[in-house]
């Protein structure tokens, strides 16, 4: 009799722990975690270490990011008023150039990862949009706040903006693109992007 109760109690306890342990993170946080973990595993994979493996490593990292970032939405938001006027061909070209620019600009930082701790500080969801708050603790023991802004697209959460210490990436490029287009032209902006990206 006692044993039966004990066993039932144990099962119940295990069930509670089983549900509580993974933590109460929502979908957007989970999806960011998935991508972050994927990238970290690429970076720490011993068979991908070394400069001979750089191209392969970076290709895999880019793939992981492509799954999580909505490049078209980011391009639309960064070109802002100038997006609508573009032809479909121009839009496609811009999305490609912009994502390559970001890869070229930030890949070094990603590759420079050396064991920094990543913690998930919470999320908020509002009608198909979400913000996931992440904290990165550097070797100098400073906290860097990174906020991912996501949008629900079909059955996935995709990133459309990243803000680091309160500074938005989309806003940063939006202002620069606007200035370049006003001073010269959209064609000149594309040329500048092309030059930056194709610089070997």
């Amino acid at each position: 009799m006692n044993l039966a109760y004990f066993r039932r109690g144990l099962v119940l306890l295990l069930l509670i722990f089983g549900i509580a342990l993974p933590g109460w993170a929502g979908e957007p946080t989970d999806e960011i975690k998935q991508t972050t973990d994927k990238i970290l595993s690429i970076l720490t994979n011993p068979s991908l270490k070394g400069s001979s493996k750089t191209a392969e490593r970076e290709k895999l990292i880019r793939q992981a990011i492509d799954e999580r970032f909505d490049w078209e939405e980011m391009s639309r938001r960064s070109l802002a008023r100038y997006w609508d006027q573009r032809t479909d061909g121009e839009k496609k070209e811009f999305v490609r150039l912009y994502s390559d620019l970001l890869e070229r600009t930030y890949m070094d930082k990603v590759e420079g990862y050396s064991g920094e701790k990543v913690t998930y500080e919470g999320e908020s969801i509002d009608n198909g949009y979400a913000v996931v708050k992440v904290k990165i603790v550097t070797k100098k023991n400073t906290d860097i706040r990174v906020h991912y802004r996501l949008k629900r697209v079909e059955n996935k959460w995709l990133v459309y903006d990243v803000s680091i210490e309160g500074v938005s990436l989309v806003n940063n490029y939006r202002i620069q693109f606007n200035n370049i287009i006003l001073k010269s032209s959209y064609e000149n902006l594309v040329k500048r992007l092309r030059d930056r990206v194709e610089l070997k």
């Binding site: 639309r76 938001r77 802002a80 609508d84 309160g166 938005s168 989309v170 806003n171 939006r174």
Partner: protein, 153 residues
């Protein structure tokens, strides 16, 4: 002269002085309204709001700018769930896109705070009473500098 005439002259003088003073007060009132930027004619236009984690000293009446041009005012600021709920007032014809970004900025490096709206590219506009989703809080420059120069204990 008769006393009646004298009284009449005195009345004229007092009337003139009175009218002059009234004119002066009206001018003063007009000047203070213009300078103080009070909207006596009532709040025409529409309101939208944004939620910020830190507005760094933004005040009611602070200006809202697009491309550096003052186009609106901060109507009210309240604390809501430990965040700043800021209501902005815009003229009726001014459309703010759904993906516009509202940032708290500073005049110069240490001047007064204001809100800068960077226009977005969405075809949809933010409806009156609705929320600006994309907000950037005030960047605390000192905090940022110290973080990356000195680290943290």
């Amino acid at each position: 002269m008769e006393s009646g005439e004298v009284a009449m002259k005195k009345f004229d003088l007092e009337l003139a002085v009175g009218l002059f003073i009234i004119a002066g007060i009206v001018c003063l009132g007009y000047l203070s309204i213009k300078l103080g930027k009070l909207e006596i004619v009532g709040e025409r236009g529409y309101e939208i709001y944004g939620v910020f984690s830190n507005i760094g000293g933004l005040k009611v009446g602070s200006s809202v700018e697009i491309a550096g041009v003052s186009v609106g005012r901060v109507k009210s600021i309240t604390l809501n769930n430990y965040q700043a709920h800021v209501v902005l007032n815009f003229p009726k014809g001014l459309k703010i896109q759904e993906d516009a970004i509202a940032s708290v900025k500073t005049k110069g490096l240490v001047g007064e705070k204001y809100i800068e709206i960077s226009p977005g590219g969405s075809e949809n506009n933010i409806q009156p009473g609705a929320r600006i989703r994309e907000t950037q809080s005030a960047v605390d420059l000192e905090e940022l500098i110290s973080k990356f120069v000195f680290g943290k204990i």
